[in-house]
């Protein structure tokens, strides 16, 4: 068991999130927004997809050193499960579901004749004897088997879920009379699990999304990138939240010189163009790392440190927006009657902040956390393109796009790496955006009465 820094922080975040959910579950004023989210079909569907991504990200965050193999590479549980995908590489590019390599090679056939042709792949479509005739049929057959098995598994899961729900609540509702959003959730869950199972099943026989320049499976890369996207989207928030909340509330509540100093700090930070600040800091991290090579022995540790630094820097550049919102809201709340009453009763300032101000700005915090998530995932791709993103050995959609960008000029074009990266990123960001909209609708007090 090896715990990387980001792993530890992810699980810290997860446990605090769970604690928050448990804390909020029984609060009266939280009931309405939570119910509103639960009633929104789009929101629930998006949430299911997000949870699926988070699940993959989490199993990719449990790292260990395999002791049976010779190499000392640190791998995650996901790597362990996907070891066939990871190890079954090719020589170079190959198209999705292809049985032949992208480029021609000299092949010596069994009878000693030398010819110049596309060689068969080492792993993709190995089981097919005559690809020209059998390939399409075989793909359709495997697809059908995969889907069928996936459907069976997901329906087992759904039935299991319903049974557990029945045992827990003793509510016996016929399948057709479940609440509409629960139905949507179960359907989306079924579709996602079947599709995922089908893809995994197919990837045993083919390279579903092809292979990249060094012959690595693109499907594997895209899945591994999920963790990077999630880490950037969530850990950055973890870093910026304390800064934004403490500074924003203090500035709004105390005013005067406290306000002046805090405003000065965030205007200064805002004045520096964000990309340049990130670039400068990443340059510094690089210089530091090359100066302290002995501390970063393993590639994965180095990449992880850089990822953490990137989150840190993004957090430092991003907290100002939320801070300004919180300051404005606190200014408004400070004059509210209940705060005045608390003050008149002699409640200490710290207590007023903690009991009266903080809970009433939480909806802004929550909304901005979900809104920021998707923009951070998108920002990662852009930053990696400028070479100031994650380490080049880290799997990320940005690195995939960056690596595949130049291959668009090839003939025939290599489109699969790009498409896979964009597809996975789009699904995550769309789900996050839809969920963010739902959360915003539910928690925004102005939209409360409908």
């Amino acid at each position: 068991m090896v715990i990387l820094w980001t792993d530890a922080l992810i699980f810290l975040l997860l446990s605090s999130l769970l604690a928050l959910v448990i804390y909020m579950r029984n609060k009266e004023h939280m009931q309405r927004p939570i119910q509103k989210i639960a009633q929104s079909k789009v929101g629930i569907a998006a949430l299911v997809i997000l949870l699926f991504y988070i699940f993959i990200g989490l199993i990719d965050s449990i790292h260990f050193k395999p002791n049976n193999t010779k190499n000392t590479e640190i791998i995650s549980v996901l790597d362990y499960w996907a070891s066939s995908l990871r190890e079954h590489g090719e020589k170079t590019y190959s198209a999705p579901f292809s049985t032949h390599l992208y480029s021609k090679e000299i092949i010596v056939s069994q009878d000693g004749v030398v010819h110049w042709d596309y060689p068969r792949l080492e792993n993709g479509g190995r089981h097919i004897y005559l690809p020209e005739h059998q390939l399409l049929l075989d793909i359709v057959k495997k697809l059908a088997i995969g889907l069928l098995q996936g459907l069976v598994i997901s329906s087992f899961l759904i039935v299991g879920f319903l049974i557990i729900r029945f045992i827990a609540t003793h509510k016996q509702t016929p399948l057709l009379f479940l609440s509409p959003s629960l139905k949507v959730a179960l359907i989306v869950m079924g579709v996602v699990i079947s599709a995922a199972y089908c893809l995994v099943y197919l990837s045993n026989y083919y390279h579903v999304f092809g292979t990249d320049k060094v012959g690595e499976d693109v499907f594997y890369q895209a899945i591994k990138s999920i963790r990077t996207g999630l880490v950037l989207g969530t850990l950055t928030t973890l870093i910026m939240l304390p800064l934004a909340i403490v500074f924003g509330i203090l500035a709004g509540f105390f005013g005067g010189w406290v306000d002046d100093i805090i405003q000065y700090i965030y205007t200064t930070l805002n004045a520096i163009p964000g990309v340049l600040l990130i670039a400068a800091s990443i340059l510094m991290v690089q210089v530091y790392m090359s100066g302290h090579e002995q501390e970063f022995t393993s590639i994965i540790v180095r990449a992880d440190t850089r990822l953490l630094f990137l989150c840190l820097i993004l957090g430092v550049t991003n907290w100002t927006g939320l801070c300004r919102l919180l300051r404005a809201e606190t200014l408004k709340l400070r004059e509210m009657e209940y705060v005045q009453a608390a003050r008149a009763l002699g409640v200490k300032k710290g207590m007023i902040l903690f009991r009266h101000i903080l809970p009433n700005v939480m909806h802004i915090v929550l909304i901005s956390v979900v809104l920021d998530f998707s923009s951070l995932v998108l920002a990662e791709a852009v930053l990696s393109y400028i070479n100031i993103g994650v380490d080049s050995t880290t799997y990320s959609w940005g690195n995939m796009i960056n690596g595949a960008r130049l291959e668009m000029a090839r003939e025939p074009i290599v489109w699969w790496s790009l498409s896979a990266a964009f597809l996975f990123m789009f699904t995550l960001v769309l789900a996050a955006n839809l969920f963010a909209d739902t959360v915003q609708d539910a928690f925004d007090p102005r939209r409360g009465i409908e």
Binding site: Y264, A280, V287, S290, I386, N387, R405, M408, F422
Partner: protein, 325 residues
């Protein structure tokens, strides 16, 4: 008014000093000039002599903040902090690590950046506002739902996708415009049209959504209801009453980014090889030219402060409720 502007100008000075100190700490204190030299010259087997030469060449061979060996005044002036940051305040950017004059480079590369950024901003503004108005006009109908959904989809797609896809489709497959490059004068148009359109399109998702919320907030207000009661049609009320009032936040939102247009767009310029400030910065980042990055940080923050100033002034000009205090 003039007094107000002067006071805002004075407020900008501590801000810029703050920026300068921050960049100084980032660039020189966290990593010593020795580290930088080693990085520039290659990590392995760099002699002490080579490092000293490099530092001598680029003026990094002085103490950071305080020069013990110099006389009186020069104790402060003969330091890296003074030499490298005071020049910035006078817009003397000095020489880049590769030996080019940064000030001249900036002046030259400013115009292509502007030629790309300004049309993108204006066309984008017109497109976004028109679509937002359309959505508000047809609110609670099918058209609005379609519009909102397509906005969410549009803003969920990475901007890189628009650029790579657009370049591939219009330049490589259809061959309507050249893939990348730049030219002086009017012939630059054929190089600029694709990046401008892509810029407008990729920003439209979030833009339309944002303006739509602005308009929706106005539409609910009492004066619009009065206008309707007076017998104006929905369209008339929208254009005569809602639009002018919603223009105030729109205008101030635009003014704040106006000065930053000079900085150009990093991604666009580098994808379409437009020799603007964005690609200049990007090249500097990639070749790890600290002098250029530092100059651009300073320039960017000056422009940002200018933007803040302009916003305040524009507020007082368009919104009669705002009084200077």
């Amino acid at each position: 008014m003039i007094q107000y502007i002067i006071r805002r100008f004075l407020y900008a000075i501590p801000l810029l000093i703050g920026v300068n100190i921050l960049t100084f700490v980032l660039f020189f204190v966290v990593n010593s000039p020795d580290d930088m030299a080693r990085m520039q010259l290659g990590q392995k087997r760099v002699t002490e002599q080579a490092i000293n030469n490099w530092k001598q060449q680029h003026g990094y061979n002085l103490p950071l903040l305080w020069n013990e060996q110099a006389d009186n005044q020069e104790k402060i002036t003969q330091t890296i902090f003074y030499q490298k940051s005071v020049g910035l305040f006078l817009f003397r950017f000095g020489v880049s690590d590769s030996g080019r004059n940064i000030g001249a480079d900036i002046q030259e590369r400013m115009w292509p950046s502007l030629a790309l950024a300004l049309p993108t901003l204006i066309v984008g503004l017109v497109v976004d506002i028109s679509f937002a108005l359309l959505l508000v006009l047809y609110r609670n109908r099918a058209l609005e739902r379609i519009g909102i959904v397509s906005c969410v989809v549009l803003l969920s797609i990475s901007s890189l996708f628009y650029i790579i896809g657009g370049q591939f489709l219009f330049a490589k497959v259809l061959k309507w415009v050249p893939i990348s490059g730049y030219d002086d004068g009017l012939s630059a148009l054929k190089f600029l049209i694709l990046p401008i359109l892509i810029g407008v399109f990729s920003g439209s998702g979030s833009g339309v959504r944002w303006y739509r919320t602005l308009f929706l907030e106005e539409v609910e207000k009492d004066y619009v209801r009065t206008a309707r009661a007076k017998g104006l049609t929905e369209t008339e009320a929208l254009f005569k009453h809602v639009l002018p009032n919603a223009l105030i936040p729109i205008l101030t939102g635009v003014v704040v980014i106006l000065p930053l247009l000079f900085m150009g767009s990093l991604i666009m310029e580098s994808f379409f090889s437009i020799p603007g400030l964005g690609s200049y910065t990007l090249d500097a980042i990639n070749s790890q030219d600290f002098a250029i990055v530092r100059s651009m940080v300073f320039l960017g923050s000056v422009l940002y402060v200018l933007g803040l100033l302009l916003t305040d002034i524009s507020y007082t000009l368009v919104d009669p409720r705002v009084r200077l205090s």
